[in-house]
């Protein structure tokens, strides 16, 4: 086991190097660089640009250096904690991102809780009452969230929340609390704004969870030990929960690892629509304007979390489920 973990950790290193290179390539792929998109943006607002100033900025930002040099500067910088400088914000990347991480994590955790709260009962009911109208109805409800395009749902909910409840549009709290200290009012404001993103993001995740829970439960429920239990008179609910449910939950535990990156980056599109102060919109804006250090470092961070997450998931799964063969070479 230790051998396995050790090997995986070692394998992570080349993987991450490859990933970092690919990330950098991807960010540089669209033609032009940050300054060009900056100039283009100024032009479209009618502001004029001094070519000399742009040239000076270019050399100051190091955008005129060859590709490999830029890559090496960035990647070696990351190794000792220097994630680079964001052109758009004029601040180090860590300051731009770190500010928003807290709220992002909160939203993500609430969303996950919400998803579980909805998916569990529906999944369990669906498995035990297969093909009934209740099954159909509830699964329909659960899948509705998946089927509706998030961005449209978000906008509609935003509008109606404002018209009906008077909640200010977008954001995670009323603007005056943004930089203020935490207080009861601020908390209330956050809760008022929180439910829309949680519902919009959460409902799209419920479908997947319902489906997997249902499938796993169905697998278990047809096993002989369940029949035995029923024959012996164990009450149905207890029978459901005590063994099959626990076995089916294996994958939840294993999934936690792979949920790490999405907790940090949190549903970018919905965040953009709802104008949430989370990390998702920053990432999208950085990619669009080719703010390469911000985009690159953040993506690298997410990639690292994913790789770690996959490792954690695999280990957890192996520990929980001895049926899975870890490594296999053909025995012949």
């Amino acid at each position: 086991m230790a051998y396995y973990i050790g090997r995986r950790l070692l394998l992570m290193i080349p993987t991450l190097i490859v990933i970092s290179f690919i990330i950098f390539v991807i960010i540089q792929l669209p033609p032009g660089d940050y300054l060009e998109s900056y100039v283009a943006e100024l032009e479209s607002q009618g502001e004029s640009v001094d070519p000399g100033q742009i040239a000076a900025l270019r050399s100051q930002y190091g955008l005129d250096e060859p590709f490999l040099v830029q890559y090496l500067t960035w990647s070696t910088g990351m190794l000792h904690g220097d994630f680079g400088y964001s052109f758009e914000y004029g601040l180090p990347v860590t300051e731009v991102v770190g500010d928003r991480l807290f709220l992002t994590v909160i939203i993500s955790l609430c969303t996950i809780l919400f998803t579980w709260l909805i998916a569990f009962p529906i999944g369990m009911y669906s498995a035990t009452h297969q093909y009934s109208w209740g099954d159909y109805g509830l699964t329909l409800l659960g899948f509705l969230g998946l089927a509706t395009p998030n961005f449209l749902l978000a906008l509609v909910m935003l509008y109606f929340a404002n018209v009906t409840f008077g909640i200010s549009i977008g954001g995670l709290m009323d603007p005056q609390y943004l930089d203020a200290d935490w207080s009861w009012d601020k908390l209330m404001s956050v809760l008022q704004h929180l439910w829309i993103p949680v519902i919009v993001i959460g409902t799209s995740g419920t479908a997947a969870m319902i489906r997997r829970l249902r499938a796993n439960l169905l697998d278990e429920l047809h096993k002989p030990y369940v029949v035995t239990g029923r024959a012996k008179g164990v009450p149905p609910f207890r029978l459901l929960v005590k063994y099959p449910l626990r076995v089916s939950l294996n994958f939840f535990i294993a999934d936690i690892g792979s949920m790490l990156p999405s907790i940090i980056s949190g549903a970018e599109i919905v965040a953009v629509v709802l104008s949430l102060p989370t990390t998702g919109p920053i990432l999208i804006a950085a990619l669009q304007s080719q703010d390469m250090y911000l985009a690159g470092s953040f993506l690298m961070f997410l990639a690292l979390l994913t790789v770690i997450g996959v490792l954690v998931s695999d280990i957890a799964l192996a520990l929980l489920d001895p049926r899975i063969r870890l490594e296999g070479v053909r025995t012949s």
């Binding site: 283009a40 009618g46 001094d50 004029g90 509008y159 977008g170 943004l178 953009v272």
Partner: protein
């Protein structure tokens, strides 16, 4: 009317709006600051103002402006954190600025003299202080010129382009503590315009603040430590200085400024607060220090959501990010949100204009696009009336891409040139050129057999543009020309035009449709690579690379522009402008559609002195700037909606 007044001013001495010298007894202390004055933290008002201050007498001379009261806070919405620089634009504190009569007038300066557009003498206001209380003197000008502009490390490409005339630098003389003089060998007619611009040319710096970052003045160890802490690339002091020296960016609370409001919130943030500048140099005629508003708050939200938020009443003064298509929605929310929706007009030459690329690489197409009959035919085949009705409710002004009626240089024949909808004449012109043959779909064939299909490059930003192009596509099909619209990212859009790969592009029309004879006609001549119809020629003018214009009319335009720069008399400048406008009207270098498209402006019901209707543009109005937001005031007791109106 406007032209002559402007002429007088530029030739004569300082415009003196401060006709009434401020009397000490008449000055009133600002309520917000009175406590700080009482404890001694701030000097009393008499010592905070320069002598003489700028006295804003507009409220006594103009009917719809009134004297206000100090106090209050308003909210604005912006789409990106960078947009806080709009407060420099709106604040509009300039050395010399445009006043309500579109004349250049001394603002921060007390007075200025211009001799032959070559020698400019500026007089500062004695006692004028930066926002941190340090005096504003000619030292700030000297620091900029000698230690920033001429410093080869800080400015490797030399001083700003607007200060260089025909390759020569000015002679800068610091005459005394409050007087500076700039002298050039050749005229520099754009100098004052650059100083008055929305994104102004800064010829001064807060020297006392920046000296701590300059290698010549700072303690070497301290400087090195600061550079280290700020994690500057390559550990160069110039990087740190440049990072701190950003008066236009307006995101550094420590940087002293002369604007009416000072940033208080350090980035990053979504909620930026700006407080009144206690040392602002303007007062109203009752002796109250401007600005009236104590505080401006800028909230950052996603650009697409701003119309929704404005409609919900979350903004007190909004124009940016609002479009004509939002008007109905805003009106529906106006009562609940306690605001008015006013309709200003935009002043671009055209809202949507097509630019045939005269420098296209494809030979056949280049010949065709350079044939003026082809361009005229395309313009005649454009149904501007339909565009106006379908997309702009008939409220826009149809015509070619040229000046708007409010400009003193406007003539109706410029706007009507080749701009009526006449498919028969268009067909005739195209037949005349030799494109008589058509294919099965009715599209004309080029001499080499290819169908006349033009790919129009678009920056793909607005659905409005797509809609206009859809209508143009249909009307051009009637004369046998088919267009494909290719939306691309902005950088690709420009690169393809620069490289000559794009046959035609679509963009806004003339940036400054409200030009006067003293404003630069650079847009009309091939002077910049950014011009979409002749970027190759423009690049030649800027950098000397590439090809100079080889069409006689374009060469004439360039020659006229050079003449304008050296012209001394206003009549000569006016004559040059008209000749250039006439060439454009004849040659149809761009195909305009409509102009004076309405711009919704949302104003809180209790905010006064915001014009009822005006022109919304970058230059020269600086959006709200020229209308003096420092004069806007809040009156919670009184609402200013007109009964029965909005």
């Amino acid at each position: 009317m406007k032209g002559t007044i402007l002429a007088l001013l530029l030739m004569a001495c300082a415009a003196d709006a401060a006709a009434v010298p401020a009397l000490q007894e008449e000055l009133q202390e600002t309520p917000l600051l009175s406590q700080q004055v009482a404890t001694g933290e701030l000097a009393p008002i008499a010592r905070r103002l320069p002598d003489p201050p700028y006295v804003d007498t507009l409220s006594t001379t103009q009917a719809d402006t009134e004297q206000g009261q100090q106090g209050g806070s308003i909210r604005l919405l912006m789409g990106k954190a960078k947009d806080v620089r709009q407060l420099v634009v709106y604040g509009y504190a300039r050395l010399i600025g445009f006043n309500d009569r579109m004349e250049l007038e001394a603002d921060i300066l007390e007075a200025f003299e211009v001799e032959g557009n070559r020698r400019f003498t500026f007089h500062l206001r004695p006692g004028h202080r930066w926002s941190d209380g340090v005096p504003f003197t000619s030292e700030d000008f000297r620091y900029f010129w000698e230690d920033v502009a001429l410093n080869t490390e800080l400015s490797p490409f030399g001083p700003p382009v607007a200060l260089v005339v025909d390759g020569r630098l000015p002679t800068v003389e610091i005459l005394d503590r409050y007087t500076v003089r700039y002298t050039w060998q050749n005229p520099n007619p754009e100098f004052l315009l650059a100083l008055a611009g929305p994104s102004p040319l800064y010829i001064y710096r807060p020297a006392h603040y920046l000296k701590q970052f300059h290698v010549r003045y700072a303690d070497p160890d301290q400087l090195a430590q600061r550079v280290e802490e700020a994690k500057i690339k390559k550990k160069q002091w110039t990087g740190l200085h440049q990072r701190q020296d950003h008066q236009y960016k307006f995101d550094n609370p420590d940087l002293p400024t002369l604007q009416p409001w000072i940033p208080v919130t350090p980035p990053p943030s979504e909620h930026f607060v700006f407080r009144r500048n206690p040392y602002y140099h303007r007062i109203d005629s009752a002796g109250r220090q401007l600005p009236y508003l104590d505080e401006i708050v800028i909230d950052i939200a996603s650009g697409k959501l701003i119309p929704a938020k404005t409609g919900a009443g979350e903004s007190d003064l909004q124009g940016r990010y609002l479009e004509m298509s939002n008007y109905t929605f805003l009106r529906e929310g106006a009562k609940r949100g306690n605001f008015d929706v006013r309709l200003w007009s935009s002043s671009r030459g055209a809202r949507v204009a097509l630019y045939p690329n005269l420098n296209a690489n494809d030979e056949t197409w280049q010949r065709l696009l350079r044939d003026v009959r082809f361009r005229r035919a395309l313009s005649l085949a454009t149904n501007r009336h339909e565009i106006n009705q379908v997309i702009y409710f008939g409220l826009a002004l149809e015509g070619a891409n040229t000046l708007i009626p409010a400009s003193p240089l406007y003539r109706p024949e410029y706007r009507d040139a080749w701009a009526r909808f006449d498919p028969e004449q268009a067909n005739r012109l195209l037949d005349e050129i030799g494109l008589q043959q058509r294919d099965a779909r009715g599209i004309r064939l080029l001499p080499d057999g290819r169908p006349a299909e033009i790919i129009v490059q678009s920056a793909g930003e607005s659905t409005e543009e797509t809609d206009v192009l859809e209508l143009i596509h249909d009307s051009w099909m009637e004369v046998g020309i088919k267009i494909y619209v290719k939306p691309t990212e902005r950088e690709i859009f420009r690169n393809r035009i620069f490289a000559g790969d794009a046959l035609m592009s679509v963009w806004f029309g003339l940036e400054n449709g409200l030009a006067t004879a003293d404003m630069t006609p650079a847009e009309l001549a091939p002077t910049s690579q950014q011009q979409l119809q002749w970027s190759e020629w423009g690049k030649h003018y800027e950098t000397g690379q590439g090809m100079p214009p080889d069409l006689p009319e374009a060469q004439r335009l360039l020659a006229l522009y050079r003449q304008w720069r050296h012209a001394d008399q206003i009549e000569e400048r006016r004559r040059i402008w008209h000749e250039m406008l006439q060439i454009h009207a004849d040659q149809v270098y761009s195909i305009g559609t409509v102009t004076e498209v309405k711009q919704p402006i949302v104003v809180n019901r209790h905010l006064h002195n915001v014009p009822e209707s005006a022109l919304w543009n970058w230059e020269p109005n600086a959006f709200f700037g020229r209308f003096r937001p420092d004069r806007f005031w809040l009156d919670p007791a009184r609402s200013n909606s007109v009964a029965g109106g909005q």
